[in-house]
């Protein structure tokens, strides 16, 4: 019941936002308060039930459409809880980071909360159709967030985003339906190991599902919707867009495709791993060439998503643990970078890297945190991303050595462009006289980035905080797929 409660609170929050009077301070505080409730409840779940989350605890099962055996089935498992928590956390951060949004605040927050409903629902769904329904619920609010509050290029970006991902998820739905019909149920815990399907049937079902999930991630070359959307969005939308939305795809891969269709995805796994490598290397190269700081961060974000694909494809406990962990770590660092890009752009009035320089002297805090985020992105030990990238590469090396070696090379490439970016933006002489005047990040901005940085460090030093929850669930997956 508490799971359902957490999922529904943002919906009530969205309605409440629309009813409030149009006063800016009130709206911002109300949104902050509403977004804090799911976070607090998720923390409560973590501390009260951390040892028994297992595969799916705190679950609820209500039959919805009897003739099809579709049910409202939700529960929190070790695979999903990390992202479930991160969604509540990043919603709070997004509300804090929404300074750049001035128009139609209440509608903006309402849209964010509706999106949160969908995100939380996906990570808690234990029924394929319900998973799809929540998956799509995120679509319209995200379309609006980009389309209404983005920059001048927002309209084509928003519709492109919508059509691409809607097509992907419709194909995925076709796969889900075929799966459910063949197995005669949509309940995920009855479908483990293929739900009794033959290997051929599993492959036929897995292909459309994988396609839909990879579009959502997005895996290069299915990524062409992404850049315009990331660059056009307001900062706080970026937080969700890069922090949570790609994980709807990767989580589907880890929690739906791999454990439920082990034999079906098996022939595709080398390619999924290859997609991961392509993401890492392509992302690094293209990021290197970006003149725009935000576009650089966007490609960096695509790149490090590749490690999740690698880990998910590895088929062993090390790799899968790495992938599940990387989902959370990636969300933390990419949200951090996007917010800081927003802060810098607001101060200097530009995002062009060539026009920036020497900002560290004027903005020691923002500059220092940008450096921290960049170091996290390149996998510096001691920060959360290092652990998961390392585990993903280890895991995939055991299964697909070529992909593993290439991915390790990708880390070097990412270090190159990130250090180069830091050198041009933070260090060096102050580029323009006008930059002498600018101040550091203000208290509100610090409030939105410091928690992210703290969690990056804490999870980097004490990975067991998250690993201990996800391990039993990962072990269960390994048992199902018969790996090591």
């Amino acid at each position: 019941v508490i799971t359902t409660l957490i999922i529904l609170i943002p919906l009530l929050g969205a309605i409440l936002m629309l009813l409030l009077p149009d006063e800016e301070r009130l709206l911002r505080y109300a949104a902050l308060g509403i977004s804090a409730v799911p976070l607090v409840l998720a923390l409560y779940v973590y501390f009260a039930f951390r040892d028994d989350l297992g595969v799916a605890a705190l679950s609820q099962d209500v039959t919805w459409i009897r003739s099809l055996n579709i049910g409202y089935r939700v529960g929190l498992g070790g695979l999903g809880f990390g992202m479930f928590f991160l969604s509540t956390f990043l919603t709070v951060i997004a509300v804090l980071a929404s300074r750049d949004v001035q128009r139609n605040l209440k509608q903006y927050f309402a849209a964010i909360f509706v999106a949160e409903v969908g995100m939380l629902g996906v990570f808690a769904a234990q029924d394929l159709i319900l998973f799809y329904v929540f998956f799509e619920i995120t679509l319209i609010p995200m379309y609006l967030l980009v389309g209404v509050w983005g920059d001048e290029n927002r309209r084509p970006a928003a519709i492109k985003f919508f059509i691409y991902t809607f097509f992907g998820s419709t194909v995925m739905l076709a796969g889900f339906l075929a799966f459910g019909i063949l197995a005669d149920t949509y309940a995920m815990n009855d479908l483990g190991g293929g739900g009794g399907l033959s290997r051929t049937a599993q492959i036929a079902v897995a292909a459309p599902i994988l396609f839909g999930l990879l579009v959502k991630v997005p895996a290069v070359p299915l990524h062409s919707w992404l850049l315009d959307v990331y660059v056009s969005s307001p900062t706080s939308t970026n937080v969700l867009l890069s922090g949570v939305l790609p994980k709807l795809g990767t989580y589907g891969l880890i929690a739906v495709a791999v454990p439920l269709l082990p034999q079906g995805v098996e022939p595709f796994l080398p390619y999924v791993a290859a997609f991961g490598v392509i993401n890492i290397i392509y992302g690094a190269f293209v990021a290197f060439l970006q003149p725009d700081l935000k576009a650089l961060v966007a490609y960096s974000s695509i790149g490090t998503l590749g490690f999740i694909l690698l880990g998910a494809a590895s088929g062993n406990a090390v790799g899968l643990n790495g992938a599940v962990f990387q989902q959370v770590a990636h969300g933390l660092y990419s949200a951090l970078l996007f917010i800081l890009v927003g802060v810098i752009a607001a101060r200097t009035g530009t995002r062009r890297i060539s026009e920036l320089g020497g900002l560290g002297a004027r903005m020691p805090w923002a500059g220092g945190l940008l450096a921290l985020g960049a170091l996290a992105a390149m996998g510096l030990p001691g920060l959360a991303v290092f652990i998961s990238e390392f585990m993903s590469i280890m895991g995939v090396y055991a299964t697909f050595p070529v992909q593993g070696v290439l991915a390790a090379l990708g880390i070097i490439l990412s270090a190159m462009y990130l250090l180069y970016m830091l050198a041009r933006v933070i260090f060096g002489p102050i580029e323009r006289p006008a930059y002498e005047e600018i101040g550091d990040a203000g208290p509100a901005e610090m409030a939105s980035v410091v928690p992210l940085a703290v969690l990056l460090v804490v999870l980097g030093v004490f990975p067991a905080l998250l690993m201990s929850i996800q391990r039993p669930a990962v072990d269960a997956v390994i048992t199902v797929i018969g790996g090591s």
Partner: protein, 476 residues
């Protein structure tokens, strides 16, 4: 006529009674718009209520020598028709009052209602033909009723001419089938349509389906649809595109399932081709429209294609789900399309008048956004469930051709995104201009829109259980 038959005919008797009352109001009173509108509202509600009571008590039986049947299936469609007639009357009340001919217009709505409720209960091919004509002839007049606009007369004329041709084709098909089987009763026809079909029987079947294709605006017989719906008064377009259409789908389903079950391989193949052509034609033409009415007209062609896809899936393991799909889809379509047409009445028919509507009129804009998203098929709105059932039925049919149809349905769903979302974009992303409509229309109309928006949103909770129930007890 026994007491039982009297109860079975209750919805039809009630609509006949109110039809006469409303007509009398027109004859005997001058300032009569309000009286006629309230009578018509009560009448449609009473029809809805009587059908609902019959459905709830599980009433069923067949009367008049088996030519008239009342079962869950028929009652379910009577609910859809009466419900959409209720909203059409409310939408028409103020407009028809301004024309000065309110009783006449409302009488037309009630007679279409009468014809459609009769239609879904018919089990005799000639009875079916008569009921279709009873529902169609008043609808020609409804389309042409707006004398202030030339398009209305033009649309009515086109509708009349193609409609008459369609009726004669349909009648010709029925006569051939009658000639082959020696009886017009569906259960007797079923004996003839088994084994190898004679050429005359096949010709009759094809002609009959072509006649229905005209009525259902299935491509390539859809040419009247855009002109008729664009010209028609909004309430007429809204009602005709959902109520009588649902009844026509229902009776086609009854004819095919009860009258020619053994010929299923033949007619499912015909339906598959019709469905594919209709979906593509509807969506591709809708993409190019700048007029919202015309866009919704092509959209209604496309949705006919989706429902025909369910007909194509009536084979193999898909039969039960395909019948349920027709039940669910027609109800879902009635709710969302009725809502979209009523919004046109409030806002206007040019896409430009929707620019920035969300700032002028957030409630109506939000409802319209819901209708558009539902027409695309975004979960958890009504249209999603219709498509879900069709895909499930198709996947279980075990036929390659049907798999292709389902694939075409998925592709068409994506093709349809730009034009439906074009409206959402205009309403929400564009700035208001001088052309943006101010809120107009009556409060009742606006309440109708909100009610339909709620129904569209909660469809999965409210209507799915009902139609699943009916599907289980009905034909299949």
């Amino acid at each position: 006529v026994t007491g039982q038959a009297f109860i079975a005919l209750l919805p039809e008797l009630i609509s006949t009674g109110f039809l006469i009352l409303v007509l009398m109001v027109g004859v005997y009173s001058d300032s009569n718009a309000g009286v006629a509108a309230s009578l018509a509202t009560i009448g449609t509600l009473a029809v809805f209520g009587s059908a609902a009571v019959l459905l709830a008590t599980g009433f069923s039986g067949s009367y008049f020598g088996g030519g008239f049947v009342v079962d869950g299936f028929a009652l379910y469609f009577k609910l859809i028709v009466a419900g959409s007639a209720f909203f059409a009357v409310l939408a028409a009340a103020r407009w028809s009052g301004q024309t000065g001919d309110a009783p006449e217009y409302l009488t037309l709505i009630l007679s279409v209602l009468l014809g459609s409720t009769l239609l879904v209960s018919m089990r005799d091919l000639f009875g079916i033909f008569l009921a279709i004509e009873l529902a169609t002839i008043p609808s020609y007049a409804m389309v042409a009723f707006d004398r202030s606009r030339r398009e209305s007369a033009e649309g009515g004329m086109k509708y009349l001419i193609t409609g008459v041709i369609a009726s004669s084709v349909l009648l010709y098909g029925i006569v051939l089938i009658y000639g082959v089987s020696g009886s017009a009763m569906l259960q007797d026809v079923a004996d003839t349509f088994s084994g190898t079909l004679t050429p005359v029987a096949v010709l009759g079947l094809v002609l009959m389906i072509s006649g229905f294709a005209f009525k259902l605006s299935a491509a390539p017989f859809h040419f009247w649809t855009p002109d008729a719906y664009q010209g028609a008064p909004t309430s007429a377009a809204a009602f005709l595109s959902v109520g009588p259409k649902a009844a026509t789908f229902a009776i086609l389903l009854r004819i095919l399932l009860e009258g020619m079950p053994d010929a299923a391989p033949t007619w499912t193949a015909v339906m598959a081709f019709l469905a594919i052509i209709t979906m593509f034609v509807g969506n591709l033409f809708a993409l190019r429209q700048r007029n919202v009415r015309r866009m919704l007209a092509y959209s209604s062609v496309a949705h006919s294609g989706y429902i025909l896809a369910a007909f194509a899936a009536i084979q193999g393991g898909g039969v039960v789900f395909a019948v349920q799909a027709v039940l669910i889809y027609t109800a879902a379509y009635a709710v969302m399309n009725m809502g979209a047409f009523l919004v046109i009445d409030l806002v206007g028919e040019e896409t430009k008048s929707y620019n920035g509507l969300v700032r002028r009129n957030p409630g109506v804009a939000a409802s319209m956004a819901l209708f558009m998203a539902a027409l695309v098929g975004i979960p958890p709105l009504s249209g999603f469930f219709g498509k879900l059932w069709i895909i499930i039925a198709g996947a279980q049919s075990g036929s390659i051709l049907v798999y292709i149809v389902v694939g075409a349905l998925v592709v068409n769903t994506v093709i349809s995104v730009p034009y439906y979302f074009g409206i959402i974009r205009n309403m929400i992303l564009e700035e208001p201009t001088t052309e943006t409509a101010r809120a107009k229309g009556s409060g009742a109309l606006r309440i109708c829109v909100y009610v339909l928006a709620v129904l569209t949103t909660l469809f999965g909770l409210l209507i799915i259980p009902l139609s699943a129930l009916v599907g289980a007890s009905g034909l299949a």
